[in-house]
């Protein structure tokens, strides 16, 4: 697995670069089911409301992973690397995310409720080093996603095991997954196994496959070069 090739970053491009063909030409006969004027303000650009649906888009086989087998580790640039078992993680203060989630494939889901523990609680126990700037989140399947450390601290990321008060289903990442709801959902690694703190950015699975390094839905950071 190579992860040394870095994609051109947003900051390497002039802020006011012309956007070829990004100004959409109207499509003959297309009116759109949802008018721009009455779009739900919770919906980022280019997204639609999946309502009761919750598509599953993992590219790997759903692992047979039980709560008893699940562990979560934080290491890399930290003072005290640590691995938590299911029970140890559950002993941390409970925290909940209520809000919206957005998938790069263009669906969004409003008013979801995830229960688990804030990532801040885990990080407080390991003591991140001052030089840490990024993390790689990795799954028990080997899936990876990169994130700036600032995107997973300050109450913006959780390790969760409940959805709507019920145990998180295996196909949605159960027994436990990361959620970083302010970024496209491929960053919210299912079957989370750990976080490694780094002093540089290291592209993860989709980022090596042409997707954007950060993935802010409100800026439509979908693919490398967006």
């Amino acid at each position: 697995m190579t992860n040394t090739t870095s994609e051109p970053s947003l900051t390497s491009q002039p802020a006011a670069a012309p956007e070829p063909a990004t100004a959409s030409a109207p499509t003959r006969g297309f009116t759109g089911r949802a008018r721009a004027a009455d779009r739900d303000p919770r919906l980022p650009p280019g997204q639609y409301d999946a309502r009761d649906g919750w598509p599953v888009l993992s590219a790997e086989v759903t692992p047979r992973l039980t709560a008893a087998d699940w562990t979560f580790r934080v290491d890399g640039l930290v003072a005290r690397p640590r691995t938590w078992t299911w029970d140890e993680a559950h002993a941390l203060p409970a925290s909940e995310y209520r809000g919206d989630i957005h998938c790069v494939t263009s669906w969004s889901k409003f008013g979801v409720r995830f229960g688990g523990v804030s990532l801040d609680a885990f990080l407080a126990e390991v003591g991140p080093s001052a030089t840490a700037t990024h993390v790689v989140a990795y799954s028990h399947t080997g899936y990876t996603a990169n994130l700036p450390l600032a995107d997973v601290t300050g109450g913006r990321a959780w390790i969760v095991w409940e959805y709507d008060g019920e145990p998180l289903a295996p196909e949605h990442g159960g027994p436990a997954r990361l959620i970083v709801p302010h970024l496209y959902f491929w960053k919210s690694a299912k079957w989370i196994a750990g976080l490694r703190l780094l002093d540089h950015d290291e592209p993860g699975f989709w980022e090596q496959n042409g997707y954007h390094h950060r993935g802010d839905p409100w800026r439509e950071e979908r693919y490398a070069g967006d």
Partner: protein, 246 residues
């Protein structure tokens, strides 16, 4: 120095496939040059894309429609056509109930209309034709797999390729007239769903040298079922790639 824990990498990026970030980031005008009915629910749309940079079988693209007031709707669709030098590509899509984009394409779009596309995207599911491939698809999940079969034929490849395709009835089977000896069709209304017996001839002793790269495409329910059959049949979990339709 603490040694970092390394998870068992059951799921690795295929290093041989590179993805152009440039083509993925630019929207292009695409002219609809042909619309063909495949089944009562599915049609094929042929698009002329002047600056198409080529694709690998299995990749998808993003298609965008724009309303006069600037409202846009975009969806991912798998490429059905093999890579070739025609300057045209094909998508086959179901008319999803209430589908905003597929509904427009199936009921309003005509030959001569322009839509916008960006891509190809995601090299993960792609098969460049370099190793034996066992393909499992259901419904319109067969679309990216057909791109692989078309590529195999067109390029005259001899590497083993097998397709097991599931549809409710013969009438629902997309590309029914195009399958050859490489394909087993499972018509679920008559025979029931895909089962281990359908895979048995290809797994275990029936594998080619070096084993298969398995590709699964369909609804999440099908993907879960088919990938479980593969794992139970001994297919290594890190050699199963899945494209699910949300």
């Amino acid at each position: 120095m603490d040694t970092p824990f390394v998870p068992p990498t059951a799921f690795a990026v295929p290093g041989r496939i590179s993805v152009s970030s440039r083509s993925a980031s630019v929207w292009q005008q695409a002219l609809i040059t042909q619309i063909r009915r495949e089944t009562p629910a599915a049609s094929t749309f042929r698009l002329k894309v002047p600056d198409w940079q080529g694709h690998l079988p299995g990749q998808h693209l993003m298609l965008r429609l724009t309303a006069p007031d600037g409202y846009v709707a975009q969806r991912h669709y798998s490429l059905a056509s093999a890579p070739d030098d025609s300057g045209e590509i094909e998508l086959t899509l179901d008319h999803a109930p209430g589908g905003e984009v597929s509904g427009h394409l199936h009921t309003v779009a005509q030959v001569g209309d322009l839509v916008e596309v960006r891509g190809p995207l995601s090299g993960f599911f792609a098969w460049p034709g370099d190793r034996p491939a066992l393909l499992l698809g259901a419904g319109s999940g067969v679309v990216p797999l057909m791109s692989m079969i078309r590529h195999h034929r067109r390029a005259g490849l001899t590497v083993p390729l097998r397709l097991i395709v599931s549809a409710r009835t013969r009438a629902d089977l997309i590309y029914a007239d195009e399958y050859g000896d490489e394909t087993t069709a499972v018509l679920t209304r008559a025979e029931g769903r895909l089962h281990a017996g359908h895979l048995a001839p290809y797994l275990g002793a029936g594998q080619p040298e070096g084993g298969w790269e398995a590709y699964v495409c369909g609804s999440n329910g099908f993907a879960e079922h088919a990938s479980r059959l593969l794992v139970d049949g001994g297919q290594p979990v890190d050699r199963i790639r899945i494209e699910r339709f949300g």
